[in-house]
């Protein structure tokens, strides 16, 4: 199981800004190890963010997103104490869901 995400959500002037830091290797499949064997690709393919069960962002990642991906976005609405739930899925079928309260 992967490590938890760090999620920060802050509400200001009717807009909620969400920042997500995911813990993931994001291996491209281009790299070779010291023996010359290709390191197989291992990366997050999909990430979804929800606010009170309403999807506020869906994203698809390729292997060229950096290791431990960072993502920031803004949506209208949201209130202090509301939940923001972020979940991702990688190309090996692993997944993780974490949530945070809007501050």
């Amino acid at each position: 199981m992967a490590n938890p995400m760090k999620i920060r959500a802050a509400h200001k002037d009717g807009v909620t800004e969400v920042k997500v830091l995911v813990s993931h290797e994001m291996e491209t499949g281009q790299r070779k190890d010291s023996a010359g064997a290709v390191v197989p690709a291992w990366f997050i393919t999909e990430l979804t963010a929800k606010h009170n069960d309403k999807v506020v962002l869906t994203s698809e990642f390729g292997p060229s997103v950096s290791k431990n991906p960072y993502l920031a976005f803004k949506f209208k609405g949201g209130a202090k104490g509301d939940k923001v739930v972020v979940s991702w899925k990688d190309n090996k079928g692993d997944s993780r869901t974490d949530e945070a309260a809007i501050a």
């Binding site: 506020v56 994203s59 997103v65 949506f75």
Partner: protein, 155 residues
């Protein structure tokens, strides 16, 4: 007696049974990736990627901004942001022309989500970074060159 089950068992064993089940749609290889736009992420060139994303014609727009450093010291972590003042933005994509696969990430923005996303990408070498934005069903692009002093995709 469950007749259907009898027939499936009778029809074959081992590999034959597996192929029957697969044909019936009960086992789908790579099911986890069902929604992922593989053709767009596998496309090598900018033109192929745009085609796979459904952007047959694009226009340059001053209302789309790509933010990032002019020079990235470390190609493994290049902060890139896309923002736009265009109305009804439903999709944002980040493309890096000279990476092995141009498409880095795409975002679907439902109503109420602002056209303003930031992330970090890997860049193998100095390249133009494109932001593709879908607004009112039309595609708009903006570009920014980011120089890389140390590539992020090497071994």
């Amino acid at each position: 007696m469950n007749n259907q089950r009898r027939q499936v068992l009778k029809a074959g064993s081992g590999a034959a049974l597996l192929s029957i089940l697969a044909a019936a749609g009960m086992i789908t290889p790579g099911m986890a990736l069902a929604d992922w736009n593989k053709s767009a992420f596998d496309a090598k060139s900018m033109a192929d990627t745009l085609k796979a994303l459904g952007a047959s014609s694009t226009a340059d727009s001053k209302e789309v901004q790509v933010t990032g450093p002019d020079i990235a010291e470390n190609g493994a972590v290049v902060p890139v942001g896309v923002s736009s003042s265009l109305p009804n933005v439903t999709m944002v994509a980040i493309l890096i022309e000279k990476n092995p696969n141009a498409l880095a990430a795409s975002f679907v923005l439902p109503e109420g989500t602002e056209a303003n996303v930031q992330t970090r990408v890997k860049m193998g070498q100095t390249s133009n970074v494109y932001a593709l934005v879908k607004s009112d069903g039309k595609f708009f692009m903006a570009t920014k060159e980011i120089k890389v002093t140390l590539g992020g995709c090497g071994g």
